[in-house]
């Protein structure tokens, strides 16, 4: 350990506030990035699940058959 005591570690001979603010903001922003990415993922999944359900519950919107065939008798 480069410091004699825990309080020396915290104050860092007067440089403590500068150092700790930097480490704090670093950890905070990296955590925020991860959480934001996670909430976006969950949001995308939720939205798509909703759309899938909508599709499944409204059969009238199902695509009709592309063509129908009937036999014709020439002559």
């Amino acid at each position: 350990m480069a410091f004699d005591s825990f309080s020396a570690f915290l104050t860092m001979e007067g440089h403590g506030p500068y150092v700790w603010v930097c480490y704090g903001v670093f950890v905070l922003l990296l955590t925020a990035l991860a959480l934001w990415s996670r909430s976006r993922r969950l949001g995308v999944l939720r939205e798509q699940r909703r759309l899938l359900k909508l599709e499944e519950s409204s059969p009238d919107e199902q695509v009709p058959a592309a063509a129908s065939f009937s036999r014709i008798h020439p002559s």
């Binding site: 570690f9 440089h15 930097c22 922003l29 990035l33 699940r49």
Partner: protein
Amino acid sequence: MWTLFHKFGSPKWFYGLAGRLMPWLLALGLGLLLAGLVWGLAFAPKDYLQGNSYRIIFIHVPSAFLAQSVYLMMAVAAVVTLVWRMKLADLFVRAVAPVGAVLTFLALFTGAVWGKPTWGTWWIWDARLTSMLILLFLYFGAIVLGSAIADEKGSARAVAVLILVGVVNIPIIKYSVEWWNTLHQPATFKLTEKPSMPPEMWVPLLLSVLGLYLWFGWLACYRMQTEILQRERRTRWVRELVRAEGH
């Protein structure tokens, strides 16, 4: 060769690969980062000139390194977008641009807080600091431009051109400390020379740099997966995946 190229370009294939890589990237990245930071904060010796404020280097240098690397990676992806129209390349740019912006902000912020006790000022308009600020604006530009254009292909191309124009800023950042007189100290790591620091200082620094790169790898994979889910939502495999996750 071409089959490999197509495979690389396939979002489905990438989605699976990212899923397999992510646990390793996250565990290794966080482990190295934590080791480097604790070592740097508590165990590395004090700098004889700057005192303890130099401990900011263990987050400042990794953030600044990665901020520039991410931009270079985006530039490579921009070339791929323009030349081969590969969808994954544009997805990568969209996924990582906000991360690059945050890293650039961190480099600027920690630099300013480090500058106060070391130089006596938070900010000065010198070459290194100004070119880094321009990098932040380039990231903002890429993010805003990407969301401003609705047409997917047009938007991808516009962002790619912006990124390639801005890439001229990267060598300016790198050599600014040599070309101009600046308050900023010269580079800590050079490929051709041994570091000017003792190993008790540069080993933890190297650990935190590697850790942050791996952590970024994890986050980039995760965010690209999300972009793929969004962009490929009409494909059968994404529908099945969404349905499976719902239960």
